[in-house]
Amino acid sequence: MEDEPVIRSATLDAPLSLGRPGAAREERVDRERALDRFLAGIERRAYRVACLALRDRAEAEDAVQDAMIRLVGHYALRPEDQWRPLFYRILRNRITDLQRRAGIRRAVMAFWSGGARDESAPDPIEDVADARGRPDEVIEGEELLARIEAVLATLSRRQREAFLFRNFEGLDVAQAAIAMGCSEGSVKTHYFRAMQALQGALGEWQA
């Protein structure tokens, strides 16, 4: 005989438990624990992605915190398997907002300084930590990441997002499409172009 299917609510991942005394509180505690686990597992990677996109650690921390608050505030009731793409969707929007503001700030500064080059912009390759006393593969990895960061800065926003979400965060095509707010075909196209650009820029260095 086949197992009887468990009836689940439309919005919760857990079976319905309404009507029992204390059920609402238990449900909230369960959700809180699940969200804590989810965020603890994702926060450091999300922060690194935000750093690569924004190239500013303080802004990256703010963006991740905002994304956490919005996910918890608006999507706590969604099934857990939706949290990851939703979290990155929110984070992406925060990053885009911050980039736009930074662009306006730079434009205003350039206008008032007569178009002088922004000397405060970080050079990711110069930022690579002092190599002395560390294993070769670690140094090579840091240098590769710094070069990738420099190439990512030259890509279109969509290409950069496709690479960060697909490669660094390991989202599948469907999840990346939700995070980027576009079609799966668009994700594939942008990701392939980003990989082409990286291969072109890093090919000689890798050889």
Binding site: R44, Y47, E61, Q65, I69, V72, E142, L145, I148
Partner: protein, 120 residues
């Protein structure tokens, strides 16, 4: 770029990224943990709040539609009422309760572009 080169670049870049995540400093980890605690405290204060964020917006939108329909009945020349109603809609749509819609704005713009491409 062939498939093998692409896989190799993917593998190397992901490994470099993973290593950089693991190498994160303690102060940053601590700040991220505090940020997480702050977010979860919000949940404790607000509860799970099923669907309530949409209620004020829904009520405002319903009231606006009712007012619009009532004005149309009263008006001698209904066409003059249109622009006023659209302006009101803009004001409501600009409110905080509609910020979820903002997360989909890019997607809506993209979908609109796709639709136009299909026509052209």
């Amino acid at each position: 770029m062939n498939e093998e080169e692409m896989r190799e670049l993917e593998r190397k870049s992901r490994a470099a990224f993973d290593a950089s995540v693991e190498a994160g400093d303690a102060a940053t980890r601590s700040r991220l943990a505090r940020a997480r605690a702050t977010a979860l405290t919000e949940l404790r204060h607000r509860g799970l709040g099923r669907a309530t964020p949409w209620l004020p917006a829904g009520a405002a939108a319903a009231a606006l539609v009712a007012a619009f329909l009532w004005q149309r009945e009263e008006a001698v020349e209904p066409m003059t009422q249109g622009p006023v109603a659209y302006e009101d809609l803009d004001i409501v749509a600009g409110g905080e309760d509609f910020d979820l819609l903002g997360e989909d704005a890019d997607f809506v713009a993209w979908a609109a572009e796709q639709a136009l491409d299909g026509v052209g």
